[in-house]
Point group: C2
Chain length 706, copies 2
């Protein structure tokens, strides 16, 4: 393709994009494809000779678009927004055209200098203290802003910087050298709330430090007292608290940790305070939301995603630090500075990040800040929030629904009153329909649908339409008495296969953590912490009629016909530990089965992994089932409806586990739910206790006879 052809095709592309965006409302927001759909549509190898552009571009609608989730659709309400805008698109177009890298000042001075300027502009716009601005710095390792690729990366970078500082301190105190860094790291422990983003856990895993997920209060905010208590306990154990990730606008329900309360604790304890405001950060361009930022002066680092809600296409993550020296020390051993008067203007950003290279992302930021101005950005944020309120009011008018946590900004969480399974089924049906798309979250065991205002194209009319779809689906669900909650057959569970190759899943330990004891496959669509970590499984959140057997990544799978990969002695030993695992709905939200002994446990490199034996041997006090009472303040009106049914119900277990039935029957979770383990009935239909329970409750709620 020469430049003349590019000019033609490029202009066609501009038209295509404009048309795509302006007519996006007509597309199904969520695709109707099955895994592997695309490989049927394309050849198995790259072509030998180049193809015509017309052929290639024609395949966008044939091959790609049928499998797209349209994030810019006004009916997209899943995850968080990834807004963009035309000026941003032009900025990235130009950046790609120039295709220059700016890893050092010298590699392309304009890339670095424009980033310095734009990050100062943006920092001022959202009201950051001047310690975070480049232009206010007097030292060569002073504060400033940098564009990172994602918030997850920024959280990790901040954790690393904090780790570096902590290790440096410990090294000095103990007269050790760099060779002891890993040893010292083994003492470090970091904190976040149970509602923090999963990236904090990922960061602690990679960073080889212990993590504690702390409980939250009624409004899902990290409890300062719990933090203090936990720090105290950890110090007693010889651990060294070094990092807190506070969240402004959690993924689950957009709750805000209080920096004013947490900041002083961090200061006192010499801990690095990192603030993750991935979504909510954009709102701080409006003064009326800035009270949620109070206490920011305590923070060592702050990050938000202009690529989420500030009209800049992905990727663009704005991160500020007070002490860039901590970053330099993270990525270099004993960094040195040139004492040049221009040093502060000549940052080598490669020392602020994990990768070496970096795109010229400041261009699109510059274009957007200038094309909208402060007032334009404020208007955009205020419009989203107003739409959020508008939708909240729609929901409140329908008393079949409830909003179990306060709305913040453009995120509303809602659910059908009653059992979690009902709301879960509602969401799955809606996503299957593809006209509106949302993802779930678990708030202290309560399954909610997260409804986010994401698209700049969303109008009140769109929301009315979306709400109508949701209401209609709910009515249908309730009307058929829950029969649209499909009963998975034994075969569909993959458990009824026979023959010598039939596999049974054995795991030595049931990997699982207290903070997310209630979950189901559909929660995979969410990004809040999810344990056990199911990988390559998000399709199952949609295709829940299919095989949902789980296997571990390690050596814990073997054949039940005796062709074990392990020695037979070992196998026998392990068979005793067969658990319910996640092959069945019994581990769905309503049946999560145990809490931790007491208080938060360190996870990450020190994860708590009770075996089935531990669980069955635990006392009743240790195995308490989370009940509706956990959410009493929010859902008090339903308390009585959530009482555990009196008559025992059956739980199907795969044959080989039958010898464990007695053991399981004694688990408090079963007793509390009134369930007792059993085998599948002759028809092969599994009597699903959850569905039965859900149906029973519906009778109470909606007066429908299933």
């Amino acid at each position: 393709m020469d430049s003349t052809e590019y000019q033609k095709h490029g202009k066609d592309m501009v038209d295509y994009i404009a048309n795509y965006l302006e007519t996006i409302r007509e597309r199904r927001v969520f695709p109707n494809v099955s895994p592997g759909y695309m490989k049927e549509l394309v050849p198995p190898e790259a072509p030998e000779v180049g193809e015509n552009w017309e052929e290639i571009i024609g395949d966008v609608e044939r091959v790609v678009m049928p499998g797209m989730t349209h994030w810019q659709s006004p009916h997209m309400h899943a995850y968080f927004p990834t807004t963009h805008s035309y000026p941003a698109l032009l900025g990235d177009m130009l950046s790609d055209g120039i295709n220059a890298l700016g890893f050092t000042w010298a590699s392309s001075p304009a890339c670095t200098e424009l980033e310095i300027i734009c990050m100062d502009w943006l920092g001022q716009l959202i009201g950051l203290p001047k310690q975070f601005l480049h232009k206010e710095q007097k030292t060569l390792s002073g504060g400033g802003g940098v564009i990172q690729t994602t918030c997850s990366e920024a959280t990790f970078v901040a954790l690393l910087a904090a780790r570096t500082e902590a290790i440096k301190r410990l090294r000095k105190e103990n007269g050790m050298d760099h060779s002891s860094d890993a040893l010292l790291a083994s003492k470090l422990v970091c904190y976040c709330s149970e509602q923090a983003h999963s990236s904090v856990e990922k960061a602690s895993l990679i960073g080889l430090v212990k993590l504690r997920l702390l409980p939250t209060d009624d409004e899902h905010r990290l409890k300062p007292d719990s933090l203090k208590e936990c720090i105290l306990n950890d110090r007693k154990q010889g651990l060294v608290p070094f990092y807190l990730c506070a969240t402004l606008g959690t993924t689950g329900c957009c709750s805000f940790d209080s920096l004013e309360q947490l900041g002083p604790i961090c200061e006192e304890e010499g801990m690095w305070l990192h603030v993750d405001a991935a979504y909510a950060g954009s709102a701080f361009v409006c003064p009326e939301f800035r009270h949620l930022l109070a206490g920011i002066e305590y923070a060592h680092s702050f990050v938000f995603n202009p690529s989420k809600w500030l009209l800049i296409n992905f990727d663009c993550t704005a991160m500020w630090v007070k002490d860039s020296g901590a970053l330099h020390c993270t990525f270099n051993v004993d960094p040195l500075y040139l004492q040049h008067e221009n040093s502060g203007d000549a940052i080598d950003y490669m020392h602020w990040q994990i990768p070496l290279s970096r795109r010229f992302r400041a261009l699109k930021l510059w274009f957007v800040l200038r094309a909208y101005g402060r007032k334009g950005l404020q208007a955009h944020i205020r419009k989203s929030v107003a739409l959020g309120k508008f939708f909240e009011n729609l929901v409140r008018k329908d008393d079949r629904f409830e909003i179990p946590a306060k709305r913040h900004l453009g995120l509303i969480v809602l659910r059908l009153k009653g059992a979690n399974a009902l709301t879960e089924r509602l969401l799955k049906n809606l996503n299957k329909g593809g006209k509106v798309h949302m993802v779930p979250a678990s708030l202290k065991g309560t399954y909610v649908i997260r409804f986010t205002i994401t698209s700049t194209r969303t109008t009140e009319e769109d929301l009315i339409k979306d709400w109508k779809i949701i209401q209609d689906e709910a009515s249908k669900l309730i009307a058929d008495g829950g029969m649209s909650i499909e009963l998975p057959s034994a075969n569909e569970h993959g458990l009824a296969k026979t023959g010598p190759r039939r596999k049974m899943l054995l795991r030595r330990r049931y990997t699982w953590a207290h903070y997310n004891r209630q979950w189901d496959m559909s929660l995979l669509l969410s990004n809040v912490p999810v344990r056990p970590s199911v990988v390559n499984g998000t399709f199952a959140a949609l295709y829940d009629n299919k095989d949902r057997r789980l296997s571990s990544s390690t050596d814990d799978v073997h054949d039940i016909d005796g062709t074990s990969k392990e020695s037979s002695g070992r196998r026998g030993e392990r068979s005793q530990q067969v658990t319910l695992k996640l092959t069945r709905k019994v581990l769905s939200l309503d049946t999560g089965f145990a809490t931790m002994k007491a208080g938060p446990q360190p996870i990450g490199t020190n994860i708590f992994v009770p075996t089935i034996d531990e669980m069955s041997n635990s006392s009743a006090e240790e195995l308490s089932l989370p009940t509706q009472a956990d959410n009493s303040n929010v859902r008090s009106e339903n308390k009585s409806e959530m009482e555990v049914p009196k008559s025992p119900r059956k739980v199907w277990l795969p044959d080989p586990a039958n010898h464990l039935l007695d053991k399981l029957a004694n688990l408090k979770v079963f007793r509390k739910l009134g369930l007792s383990p059993t085998s599948p009935n002759e028809s092969g239909v599994i009597p699903d206790p959850l569905l039965l329970k859900a149906k029973q409750e519906m009778n109470g709620h909606y007066g429908v006879d299933g």
Copy 2:
């Protein structure tokens, strides 16, 4: 900006980009700006209200372009290429327009599925074994390809996966749990050659593992025997070797480690073999270069950058692994798999990488693979290599120059015969001129100019022009007898400042490693390992007349007038350790001053940091000066010319260090070079021994009387 305006401005942007690229030859490839230039051109804050697009876009030429290094210029020969192509630009344009994220299959199925397909296509194109292809996998944690942001990140991800596997093994062997992971990591040691990319060192630092940089042979390839020996020694010390990063196409001179030799060692030792082919990987689309890939079947992971040389704009890094389970275990504790028949088609790529979110980068890859086809890509690579050969022949015809390492692909290293300082000055003058841009490298103490064929627009005519510029500059340099090597004044060194606030730099330890004992500021432009790590200093590689004082990031700077930040007792103690440090040219390439005691030392978390006392107390054997003989095979014709001058020369030292003069005079490095420390003369002009030496040598080489 509404869609109509976008259509207008977008089409103008297409024209602007086409015009920019087609006329890029006319622009100065390297900018003529000083640090901080931009802040004079823009307001200190973002505008209050949105600006007109015309104003904004007009500022691209006024504000941005003057500070750009034009990476697509045919006269750009620095770093490695970042090629792009019109189909790639269209791909990213569309990706930005759609602005969808593909962190899980469900978040946008087409994003994941197109990536699976394109990575298989690409893997087949370059001849990867089928263990690396998605479509060949039978297990849920099988091999496959993934697009990462950068090679640095891929190297780090591979190191993490290897660390996970190693720790898992150690945990099992020692009956430990996750809480011991950091402790176990302290035993781990990884390897790469001294010519490997700096990102390996960065990865080892962040990964909290020890790193050994191994010596290379005459062709700058990692020596398998050294690896074996080092592993043996490490095992004796109780360390656990776990990871080798082999490089195909090093940054310095594009040398190729032998996978056929290194692979079996890794296999035998149970080590993860990661292959970094960042630049050279693209060449493997041509069968004639694939012999350099021999042994790839031993690799656990392989990475190259289509964004470097395969016509795809940054970012696009292609990484393949044999065992994706190792990645899943890295980013999750004990991951679980769904045993669904479609699992292999429904990858959740968030578990293959550090960040959560990811752009739809497969689109541009798809467009390029289809628009060019196998043959088109081969033709592109072959053209670059032919141009490399063409340029090599130009250089060989001028006997003032030498090519101290074999040319591979499109990278030629060259230098003026004689002292390093001469070539260094040549390069600085050329970059100052801005008509052609290159960066240096250090090959075992030999300073070279790296000349890379980067742009798809480069022609033979361009190369003839570039070569003429280089020759003319060399002639000028030689003609004035080296006087264009500017003598920095004491004031310019920032050392002649007076008054109570005069600062003196004190460092407890001189941070420095054996593998890069020879370096100078200009090497900051390069990306090969550079120690000590000077941050925010690449501008100094260009502005070498300015202040080059160095300070450490820690607390090692204090006032010489006695207003020390430290206690005075401490200060006195530390003053004894004042070293030459990096305030002067005496640490330039020609005067690097000591080698390690014996063999490679672990760096990274276990860096070797001799103090001045250690150095001055060392025996003559320990402090051997690298001489021309180190490169005898390459530069044998110059051996005699490099003999150390017999008469003693003077080295200027700052006053406060005078008491160290005697000590320093006894260093073998000084004796060997025939230098003796002294104070600046009365005129304030520093007699720079390097420059004198360079001039003297020039006399020998070029018959010019300085």
